[in-house]
């Protein structure tokens, strides 16, 4: 099978592409720069470039669409162009190129605002309700994708929640960087229970989804490790794995949320370079419960995570000690 993986420059994209390849499929990656992955075919280009997109989907059987603008800050138009229009273009090109199956890699944030989620089942994306450019545009894109589902062109959405692991620049690196700089507040007492997903598990879930399209098509499922942990414990675990002292001080969640949204606005209006230190989105993620009902997901995908949180943290520590070759659950045989 020939499988196109978009966004293979990100952590999850790389691991997913590598995993699909290791299962004996021909993998085409699509992003602006070479993937650097061995044994895959790179098709370079931007998701906003119609021609490049058309070229990438030629002869492809299945698409795993991970490419997105994932950021806490940035201009709304960029999010719209990459996340919504890019997805629209890829869907159209794929269908006309005769692609059978399309996995849209989404996020639980497409359906939820800042409230505490405890054992939450996946509900439809609500672009009008969710907050922030990222969540809004991913929500629109997910709706577009699922609407495109048909018997000849099967589409499903996989929403991994907080993916982390070796090579993660989103959560892990940010946590470590801020912890090193003494800028990482542990919100409230750090007791908010949060589901996360070890990257290898998320990749396996995506691969499992490709094999479950007869059950899964037209639906969205949330994917996590199914091991909710207090956020304080997770962050401390990440810090220890990275060799950094875990944060000790705490900021009440509400204060941080208000401060975060002010900072967000200043950053957006003032065009300050770099990522803001604490956005409202991040504050919410770190101070309210976010954990999910995985029963339907596991039944539909016929999949269970193979790397536990503790094992994932051990691998992360190995990675920072330079001892880990691959974040995959079962290192691929040569």
């Amino acid at each position: 099978m020939r499988v196109l993986v978009t966004g293979a420059s990100g952590m999850l994209g790389r691991v997913t592409a590598d995993l699909i390849r290791s299962r004996g499929h021909h993998v085409v990656t699509f992003q602006r720069r070479p993937s650097g992955l061995a044994g895959v075919e790179d098709s370079l280009g931007s998701i906003t470039d119609q021609t490049a997109v058309l070229r990438a989907v030629q002869g492809v059987d299945a698409v795993v669409h991970l490419a997105a603008k994932v950021s806490f800050g940035g201009a709304a138009a960029d999010f719209e162009a990459i996340n919504v229009e890019g997805t629209r273009a890829l869907l159209g090109a794929s269908r006309s190129a005769g692609v059978h199956d399309f996995i849209f890699v989404s996020s639980p944030s497409v359906a939820h605002i800042g409230e505490a989620l405890m054992g939450q089942a996946a509900t439809p994306a609500t672009p009008d309700l969710v907050r922030g450019n990222y969540a809004q545009t991913k929500a629109k894109a997910e709706l577009l994708a699922l609407q495109a589902n048909s018997t000849s062109f099967r589409v499903a959405a996989i929403r991994p929640h907080i993916v982390w692991g070796p090579g993660d620049t989103q959560l892990v690196e940010r946590v470590l960087e801020r912890a090193r700089a003494g800028r990482l507040p542990l919100l409230d007492a750090g007791t908010a229970l949060v589901d996360t997903t070890y990257v290898g598990n998320a990749a396996e879930a995506i691969v499992a989804a490709l094999g479950s399209m007869d059950r899964l098509a037209g639906q969205a499922v949330v994917v996590t490790n199914g091991e909710p942990r207090p956020i304080g414990e997770l962050i401390a675990g990440i810090c220890r794995a990275g060799g950094v002292e875990p944060p000790r001080w705490s900021v009440p969640g509400r204060v941080a949320r208000i401060a975060g949204s002010i900072v967000e606005r200043v950053w957006q209006r003032g065009g300050i370079e770099g990522e803001p230190p604490m956005t409202r989105f991040l504050a919410e993620q770190l101070s309210t419960a976010h954990w999910f009902d995985q029963r339907r997901t596991r039944e539909l995908l016929d999949w269970t995570p193979t790397v536990s949180i503790d094992e994932g943290l051990a691998r992360l520590a190995q990675h920072y000690r330079g001892q880990l070759s691959t974040p995959l659950p079962n290192p691929s045989r040569p």
Partner: protein
């Protein structure tokens, strides 16, 4: 028009009904509004409910019953009484008699035929009963929610109604303003959603629309001079012969229709099934789902209506051994004693004296009106005094109510009110509480009180006074001329005594119905409000026999009663029983020396003590003298019930009680005891669990095997934690523990729903505890059914994991709870640490890791480990963790934000 949430538009109906009410001129026709779900029924109705609202509500009150009626195939009609709701304002003051006529006119007009069941609330209850009384040809059942049929002329009407009737308030409060409406709506617990409140107000906008409310209040027959009094009296008397099934669903937190009125109704309709929704109020149908229980009752499929047959066969009254010994060669031997403070026995009675005291007190109690079936609340610490009273009440056939301070002040108050005692005998503290909380019942003090205090506390008699009466009538009084006060220290008017009390048949033991109620005991309330548990004389006697057989206790043995429930069985078992010098309500006040003194005083071989007492005995063993130790070496049996006792503690206890067989029977207020196990068996069970040598051994507390006469089975749990499986005794199958034994409770007191749940499986009592058998036939208890955690990986029972956690040095007490939705809960450990943590929060990393390892060894993955300064436990045993409360707290803490107080 305002939306009517919960009302289907197809229910709304109007009808012109010719009137026969005396208040209307001949030929009058009135327009009625009513709700009728008839058009939604798909087949022929199984029957018809006629619902009648009170004041100041309207048919909207019954919307949940109409909706449920559709599902269950019952036609439900809810009327708006005339001048009320959306029915016509007739311009005429309709009194009770008119309203009964009105309802009959309505029923006739609608052609309502046989198999009609009336449902009433508030004054609608009276109107519906009036109709039911008159139309017995139509009625096949009555349902009542917070209402009243009788006002004791000697008692004031409730203060709230007095206020509403006050001339200065009446018109203003009921008609000119919506005050009466607002106050009524504010009685809902929790408060009504605003759209529901608006719907209740809808028909009563403007003073002109509210005349009916004012008239209804003015029609309350507060005293015999009231024009509606005869009508009320006639209905109240009439329903005594209304022999149709009755159901009463009650909200006890009602400032108007209190338990006293419920009690009056149950006395008139003794066949009634009664359920009190603890915590619910006047608008019980708003506070709780009354529709589901109502249709369940109408379905009649459960055990409560087809009452489980009680045990039959020979019956030996509880006091049999007492009377035998009093009349036989042992008459002068010691029967009961209290230890004094100086290591010497205090008050004591021989069997002869005990029997005589019981008899004389029983006669005196009858003289002040105590009868078979009278309810007597005993608020006296265990000891000789309580023993005499208890057996006196049993001899009369009065029902004793034992609610102890272990329920906490609020719990105790609720318990007392729920039983509506006719008499309350108590120490000063109890009488003060009775006054403070306005507990019902004539009050009798233990001590003779000065007049001022007697008046203050509303005390009518003292035990001393009663003894004098009893002694006087037994002809054994001291010279009455010498000490007139001794005969009547309470200043009682001898003419005020009940002459019927002299009837000697009243104390004839052959007249005692073995299946009449004998006692109401209360559960500890560690899983919800304390429940009253009713025992008959036969079941109490069976409890005695089970204890005697299981533990080999024989008449003549000496018994130290350091644990309240069993302490009272001493005379019934024919044992000499002694109460040690301790506060029996605070078990941990029993010291090693006090125990030894009590043992020495009677040469006791058997000791009843609570787990907390055992701990204190160990803690104070340093004070034992050689004499003490010699006495304790003679003890051959120790029983400790109420909570599991860890094996190491029992092993240590052997240093104090070297010859004793240490038993920790398992049981509950509803069945005392259920199983028995001794130290050796505990140790071998634990060894089997560790070695995995016996299938099913482990995961919980091993409580051994069923006691004499009892059988146990397990109703397996499904994935949602509901015990709906076919009962089994197979090893390793976890489920609800079911017990069948002659000494199991008769029923729960005024908890029809709870009772029908607990007795829904044939002759079994469903205990609400969860456990399993092992391959050797031993029972392992895993926790309480409501404390089951339903993780995505399956059901998790708390006790086994908690035991694993408690093996960690830094962990004191542990609670395992679930947070999140059923079926996908996160498993959370909440632990007390040693030393205790200052504030609640996340466990330190090392503790969390250790706890996860320990839990994993018990097969459970923990999502979070939280530490707290202390876990909430029950007052009675200080051992049962309120896991429901812990779960609520943990869910809050783990949702993010500030951590609340546990």
């Amino acid at each position: 028009m305002v939306a009517l949430p919960g009302v289907d538009p197809s229910w709304l109906a109007y009808r012109d009904v010719p009137s026969t009410a005396a208040v209307d001129p001949v030929g009058t026709t009135n327009s009625w509004h009513y709700l009728d779900n008839g058009s939604q029924l798909t087949g022929p109705a199984r029957g018809t409910l006629l619902c009648v609202h009170g004041n100041p509500t309207w048919s909207y009150l019954w919307r949940s019953v109409l909706a449920a009626g559709v599902q269950h195939g019952w036609r439900v009609i809810a009327v708006d009484q005339l001048n009320m709701g959306l029915s016509e304002r007739t311009g005429r003051f309709r009194r009770l008699a008119d309203r009964v006529d009105d309802l009959n006119d309505f029923a006739e007009s609608l052609g309502l035929a046989k198999d009609l069941i009336t449902v009433g609330h508030d004054w609608g209850g009276v109107v519906s009963l009036g109709f039911a009384d008159r139309r017995r040809d139509l009625i096949s059942g009555v349902v009542l929610t917070n209402t009243a049929i009788h006002q004791d002329p000697d008692r004031p009407i409730p203060a709230a109604l007095r206020l509403a009737l006050h001339p200065l308030v009446h018109r203003w409060g009921t008609k000119d303003t919506s005050a009466f409406l607002d106050v009524t709506h504010s009685l809902a617990r929790p408060s009504l959603p605003s759209e529901v409140r608006k719907a209740f107000l809808l028909p009563y906008r403007g003073g002109a629309r509210r005349q009916g409310i004012a008239d209804f209040v003015a029609d309350i027959p507060a005293d015999p001079s009231h024009p509606s009094y005869p009508a009320l009296l006639s209905i109240a008397a009439g329903i005594r012969t209304l022999d149709v099934p009755a159901l009463m669903l009650w909200g006890p937190e009602d400032p108007i229709f209190s338990d006293t009125y419920l009690d009056d109704l149950t006395e008139r309709l003794p066949q009634a099934d009664v359920h009190r929704f603890e915590g619910a109020g006047h608008l019980v149908g708003e506070d709780r789902d009354i529709a589901a229980p109502l249709f369940r009752w109408l379905g009649g499929s459960d055990a409560a209506s087809s009452e489980i047959a009680g045990p039959v066969g020979s019956f030996t009254p509880l006091e049999h051994e007492l009377t035998q010994r009093a009349a036989g060669p042992h008459a002068d031997q010691l029967a009961v004693a209290d230890m004094g403070t100086a290591g010497q026995p205090g008050r004591s009675l021989s069997w002869r004296d005990l029997d005589a005291e019981v008899q004389s007190l029983a006669m005196a109690l009858r003289r002040i009106g105590v009868r078979r079936g009278s309810r007597i609340s005993l608020m006296i610490p265990p000891g000789v005094e309580l023993t005499v009273l208890l057996y006196a009440c049993l001899r009369i056939g009065a029902v004793i109510i034992v609610a102890d301070a272990g329920l906490g002040r609020k719990g105790l108050s609720k318990a007392v009110r729920s039983t509506v005692p006719d008499f309350l005998i108590g120490i000063d503290l109890a009488l003060t509480a009775a006054k403070l909380f306005s507990w019902p019942g004539k009050r009798i003090s233990v001590a003779h009180l000065p007049l001022a205090k007697r008046k203050l506390l509303g005390v009518q008699h003292s035990l001393a006074g009663l003894r004098a009466i009893g002694a006087g009538e037994a002809g054994e009084s001291a010279d009455p001329l010498a000490t007139p006060d001794a005969l009547d220290p309470d200043g009682l008017d001898p003419d005020g005594l009940d002459p019927d009390g002299l009837d000697p048949d009243g104390l004839d033991p052959d007249g005692l119905d073995p299946d009449a109620d004998a006692a109401i005991l209360f559960t500890s309330g560690s899983t919800g409000p304390a429940k009253g548990v009713v025992y008959t004389h036969r079941r109490l006697a069976a409890m005695r026999d089970t204890v005697a057989l299981t533990f080999g206790i024989s008449p003549g043995d000496g018994l130290v009663a350091g644990f309240a429930p069993f302490a009272l069985l001493g005379p019934a078992l024919g044992t000499t029983s002694i109460t040690p010098d301790m506060d029996v309500t605070k078990p941990k006040t029993l010291s090693a020396a006090a125990l030894a003194d009590a043992v020495a005083a009677i040469g006791a071989t058997t000791v009843f003590a609570s787990p907390a007492a055992l701990r204190n005995i160990l803690a104070t063993r340093g004070n034992l003298t050689t004499g003490h130790r010699d006495a304790l070496a003679g003890v051959s049996l120790v029983l400790s019930a109420g909570a599991p006792v860890p094996a190491p503690l029992l092993t240590e206890l052997l240093s104090v009680l070297p010859a004793a067989s240490l038993h920790t029977p398992y049981g509950m207020t509803e069945a005392l005891p259920v199983t028995d196990i001794d130290l050796e068996s505990i140790l071998s069970a634990q060894a089997d669990a560790a070695a995995s040598s016996i299938p099913g051994a482990g995961n919980g507390v091993c409580v051994g095997r069923a006691v004499a006469g009892a059988s146990i089975t397990i109703s397996p749990l499904n994935h949602a934690g509901i015990a709906d499986g076919e009962p089994t005794t197979d090893a390793g199958i976890t489920g609800e523990i079911l017990i069948s034994a002659p000494h199991v409770k008769e029923r729960y007191h005024r908890l029809w729903l709870t009772e029908s749940d607990s007795s829904r499986t044939g002759h079994w009592h469903r205990t609400g505890d969860v456990g399993h058998f092992d391959g050797a036939g031993r029972l392992w208890v895993e926790g309480r059914l409501p404390h089951i955690v339903t993780a995505a990986t399956g059901v998790v029972t708390p006790v086994g994991v908690e035991q694993a956690l408690e093996t960690i040095d830094a962990v004191g007490l542990a609670a395992v709870v679930g947070v999140g939705p059923t079926g996908t809960q996160a498993v959370v450990a909440v632990v007390e640490t040693t030393p205790p943590t200052g504030k609640p929060g996340l466990a330190p990393a090392a503790l969390a890791a250790g706890a996860r390892r320990a839990a994993r060894s018990a097969g459970v993955e923990l999502s979070a480990v939280l530490v707290v300064p202390s876990l909430p436990t029950d007052i009675r045993h200080n051992a049962k963790i309120d896991r429901t409360g812990v779960a609520v707290w943990a869910a809050g803490a783990l949702s993010g934000g500030k951590i609340g107080k546990l």
